[in-house]
């Protein structure tokens, strides 16, 4: 057996705040004796929480794209624009570079995040035969790109604050931006709710069931 030892199987919990190892208490959760953070062997109902938040995000993506994110009032006439509409307008105006950035930040990233979260949940729950390293890669990417969607909201909030010239030009944030902000926040929470250690739990389970497979796999991965 050349598998690394795991805290849980040794009767320890890890504190997610300060990485303190604590002997497994009798209850389902406890407070870290060092930093006082709540500790779990595994995050309580991690998969369920992730599912809930992911579905919320996916549903909120609808109003975020249907409702206008901001209304640019120029010379008295308003022009509400949705995310996709604004991106298309930028593209038609030849600003395809900016259009690409806006598209990536406000369409691709949230969708990618949601897809990634769904995949992770399915891998853990359905015991999909995906190498745990691939799953971890998905998790890291989803975790890393999480905050980049806030780019749009920064832009909108700056425009709303700066462009206020009465009837000549004005920018007002739309309800879509609230929905969009909620999507971003909810997906970030979903990523936090997902406990990546579950991936390894699943892997451990599989190896215990089929040692040969584990031998073969760990060999291949060690290369």
């Amino acid at each position: 057996m050349n598998r690394p030892a795991r805290a849980l199987s040794q009767g320890f919990w890890t504190c997610l705040g300060c990485r303190q190892l604590v002997p497994k208490p009798p209850a389902a959760s406890c407070l870290c004796p060092r930093c006082g953070a709540r500790m779990h062997g595994r995050i309580d109902g991690s998969i369920m929480l992730t599912w809930a938040l992911t579905i919320t995000g996916a549903l909120l993506l609808i109003p975020a794209n249907v409702l206008p994110v901001m209304t640019v009032i120029y010379l008295g006439s308003g022009d509400p624009s949705t995310i996709v509409g604004g991106t298309l307008e930028l593209y038609h105006n030849g600003l395809w570079g900016i259009a690409l950035i806006v598209f990536v930040a406000s369409v691709a990233v949230p969708v990618m995040k949601l897809v990634g979260l769904v995949l992770l949940c399915l891998i853990v729950q359905r015991r999909w035969d995906v190498s745990p390293r691939q799953a971890m890669r998905i998790y890291r990417v989803v975790n890393a790109i999480g905050r980049w969607s806030l780019l749009d909201l920064f832009m909108i909030s700056i425009l709303v604050a700066l462009v206020d010239m009465g009837a000549i030009a004005d920018v007002a944030a739309g309800a879509g931006s609230t929905a969009f902000a909620t999507v971003v926040v909810v997906t970030m929470l979903a990523v936090r709710a997902f406990d990546p250690r579950l991936i390894w739990d699943v892997y451990e389970e599989k190896i215990t069931a089929q040692p040969g497979l584990a031998q073969h796999k760990s060999h291949r991965e060690n290369e």
Binding site: L21, C30, L31, I62, V66, S77
Partner: protein, 786 residues
């Protein structure tokens, strides 16, 4: 909470807590789902309605921008266009089909009979419309119809008349449409009670049928016997202070309108009903809707029936209907039809008079020459009259006109006539009301009214002058033609202003004050004192020739006469007020004319403007008004030069040579002074030449300085040296000059005082030209005034 022991060999125990259920988390997706479902539902049920509108031209429509507005609210937007060739809705013309997406809420407007038209900014005589589109862009307006729902419409080319609500609709028949248009107002006693709704050619095309809409609340005013005529929107209102004329708007004045009136005889006819037809008359007189009045003239006047008109302040308010001699055959009885709007103003205070033909620019070229006309001054009063005594000439004045009433007395009035303007700083502030000969016939009295708001401009110090005609003056700088206004050239005018020594404390003028009317501004503003100048000839001087001091005009010649002995000219000149101190002893005058000589050209501008009189103030204190002009500019006399801060020297020369007053004095070919005069010595054995050295150069002259005559040319010729021509300057060559040199230090000697004598040599010795002493210029001020 108890502190756990921080020892690494003993693993600390976690603190146990009971976990809670997590089912609340699922509220979040539930809420999100509700929001999403609601939005989708809304989008699905309240989505846009697609409608097509056919325009004859796509001009002014912008894809995705042009909105459809109803009552100012945006209810849709143009999504796309499509060209429709040979649209049958447009009689086979090519059209533009606009696809418009409407708000769901505006669906009820999309019915048969709804009218769409494009609103563009439009500035026309009848008004400014759609100005907001300048900022917000064109939009499509809609007037809803009533009927079943419809998805395809044809736009109307222009907005339908703005007629809303219930009312009476009658038809007028007229031979011509004249200036009426859709939306033109319908007046009853100047009150807008309706508008022109439509017009079309009648069957047979020999008449125009004009549809009128009268609002319900005024429908009772229209009787079967009412008369309609073409009218403009002028209203006249009387009050105690006078009468004001108000135009409804320039637009209604030009675009016209319809007035109606029910003559007393027709007041009992039944009320009009929808569809009744009336004749549209050209004017109230044609409509026989005027108020008949009688004017009694006490002598025969030239009036034409049907053509002579009655004006009130330029507005036509009546027309002569019939003219006949009165019973005693010593006057005329004129029947006039007055516009019904004057009804309340035909009172015992109203005056009629016959106005002579006038040349009038104010009312346009068409009316330049008007024939006889009757003018009326409408006044409110207690008693309504229908018969008036009319005057055959305009009243000289009317004290009832509001404003400041003044009398100006003039020897003659030039082209001033009744109605001429009174100007203050070229702004019209009043009018000439009339003119009258003074009782003794010596003067003309001009009655002037200043508008009340300008009355404060006139005070007892004001001066009035005639501004009729044109003034011109020419100089090298150009020709200046001045007139107060073109109108004043023809109609005459009066201007007023304050005299030069105007003070604010002067009492304001009051009505009835009398002023003199001067013939020109110069006369009015005349100030200063007269002086008399004796000249040998006129020297090219004229009346108006300026008197100048240092280039500034301080007076002018007002009269030139031969003197009593007939051997000279005597000029009277006026010194302006600020220049009065020139009229004292010691002042000298001379004529400055163009001078062309070896020294250059002087006063060339006087070739064009003519010579002028230059004067130099005297030092005396006694007043003096009699002067004798000098022949030329006086030179400073010798005694004066001795007093001057520079150095005055006397050079002893055997002959004068070509030296004269003004000849230059050179030091190293730099001019440092000049010859101020010469005279024979006491024994006539020599000539004294007086030289003045400028103060800053006086240190150059020392005891042993040598002076020589630098006039002419010094030519040296030698076999070895060649030809050497030498002169101090080209001017010295012709006009003569003096040069001097000072020996090197320390042989030069001391500085000298004014009055020192030096010999003047005929030519320099070679050695003198080589001297180069170092002398400090610009000595201290104390030294230079020694």
């Amino acid at each position: 909470m108890s502190e756990p022991p921080l020892e690494y060999d003993a693993q600390p125990e976690g603190l146990a807590r009971r976990s809670r259920g997590l089912s609340l988390v699922w509220l979040l997706p539930l809420i999100a789902a509700l929001i999403a479902v609601w939005l989708l539902y809304k989008d699905f049920t309240q989505g846009d309605i697609r409608v097509t509108i056919l325009f004859s031209s796509g001009e002014g429509l912008v894809k995705g921008k042009t909105a459809v507005k109803y009552s100012g609210v945006e209810i849709g937007v143009v999504n796309d266009f499509r060209l429709v060739p040979n649209a049958k809705d447009l009689n086979g013309q090519d059209g533009v089909l606009a696809e418009v997406s409407f708000n769901h809420s505006a669906g009820y407007l999309l019915t048969r009979g709804s009218k769409f038209w494009l609103v563009k900014p439009e500035v026309s005589l009848t008004g400014v419309r759609g100005l907001e589109t300048l900022v917000s862009g064109n939009y499509i307006a809609i007037e809803p119809g009533s009927g079943p729902t419809q998805k395809h419409f044809v736009a109307v080319p222009e907005p339908p008349a703005y007629v809303r609500g219930d009312g009476l609709r009658v038809t007028l028949k007229a031979p011509r449409l004249a200036s009426l248009s859709r939306g033109s107002p319908v007046y009853f006693r100047q009150l807008e009670v309706g508008q022109v709704e439509s017009y079309r050619l009648s069957e047979g095309a020999n008449e125009v049928e004009i549809g009128l809409f009268i609002r319900r609340e005024y429908a009772d005013l229209v009787h079967r016997g009412s008369r309609f005529w073409n009218a403009s929107g002028v209203s006249i209102q009387g009050s105690i202070s006078g009468v004001t004329v108000e135009m409804e708007s320039l637009a209604s004045l030009i675009a016209g309108g319809v007035s109606f009136y029910t003559p007393d005889s027709q007041i009992h006819t039944p009320k009009a009903e929808d569809g009744n037809e009336f004749k549209l008359y050209k004017s109230f007189a044609d409509a026989d809707a005027g108020i008949p009045i009688t004017l009694n003239f006490n002598r025969g006047v030239s009036l034409t029936e049907g053509s002579t008109q009655v004006f009130y302040q330029g507005i036509r308010v009546g027309e002569v209907n019939a003219v006949k001699a009165n019973r005693s055959i010593d006057g005329m009885e004129v029947e006039v039809l007055m516009d019904p709007i004057t009804d309340d103003l035909l009172t015992e205070n109203t005056r009629f008079w016959l106005a002579p033909p006038t040349l009038d620019f104010t009312s346009g070229v068409n009316d330049l020459l008007k024939g006889n006309r009757i003018e009326v001054d409408l006044r409110t009063g207690n008693r309504s009259l229908r018969s008036f005594d009319a005057a055959s000439s305009p009243p000289a004045r009317d004290a009832r006109t509001p404003g400041l009433h003044l009398q100006l007395t003039a020897r003659n009035t030039g082209s001033i006539q009744r109605g001429a303007s009174v100007y203050y700083r070229q702004m019209e502030v009043g009018r000439v009301q009339g003119m009258e000969l003074a009782s003794d016939g010596s003067r003309v009295i001009v009655y002037v009214v200043i508008e009340p708001r300008y009355a404060h401009l006139v005070d007892s110090d004001s001066r009035f002058w005639n501004v009729s005609g044109v003034r011109a003056s020419a100089s090298l700088q150009g020709v200046k033609v001045e007139t107060d206004s073109l109108l004043s050239v023809v109609r005459g005018g009066i201007a007023f202003g304050s005299g030069p020594q105007h003070s604010k404390s002067v009492a304001k003028a009051r009505s009835g004050d009398s002023f003199r009317l001067y013939s020109s501004r110069e006369d009015a503003m005349e100030e200063g004192i007269n002086i008399y100048i004796d000249l040998t000839g006129d020297e090219g001087l004229k009346e108006g020739t300026p008197l100048r001091y240092r280039g500034i005009q301080v007076g002018e010649i007002t009269r030139l006469r031969l003197n009593y002995e007939m051997d000279g000219v005597r000029a009277r000149a006026r010194l302006y007020r600020r220049a009065e101190r020139f009229a004292r002893t010691g002042t000298r005058l001379w004529v400055v004319g163009p001078k062309i000589g070896l020294n250059g050209v002087d006063n060339l501008d006087t070739l064009v403007t003519g010579p002028f009189l230059e004067l130099e103030p005297g030092l005396g204190n006694e007043p003096q008004t009699e002067f004798v002009a000098l022949a030329a500019k006086p030179e400073p006399d010798l005694a004066d030069t001795m007093m001057m801060p520079g150095l005055a020297l006397i050079l002893d020369a055997p002959r004068r040579g070509s030296l004269k007053r003004g000849s230059p004095v050179y030091y190293r070919q730099v001019k440092v002074g000049q010859v101020t005069g010469y005279q024979l010595g006491e024994l006539a054995d020599r000539v004294y030449i007086y030289v003045y050295i400028e103060p800053e150069y006086r240190t150059l002259v020392r005891e042993h300085s040598k002076f020589w005559n630098a006039s002419g040319v010094d030519v040296n010729f030698g076999v070895m040296t060649g030809l050497d021509v030498h002169t101090e300057s080209a001017q010295a060559l012709l006009a003569g000059g003096i040069a001097f040199a000072t020996p090197n230090n320390p042989e030069m000697g001391l500085e000298v005082e004014s009055g020192s004598h030096y010999p003047l040599y005929g030519k320099p010795e070679d050695e003198w030209l080589l001297w180069s002493p170092k002398i400090e210029l610009y000595p201290s001020l104390e030294d230079s005034f020694k």
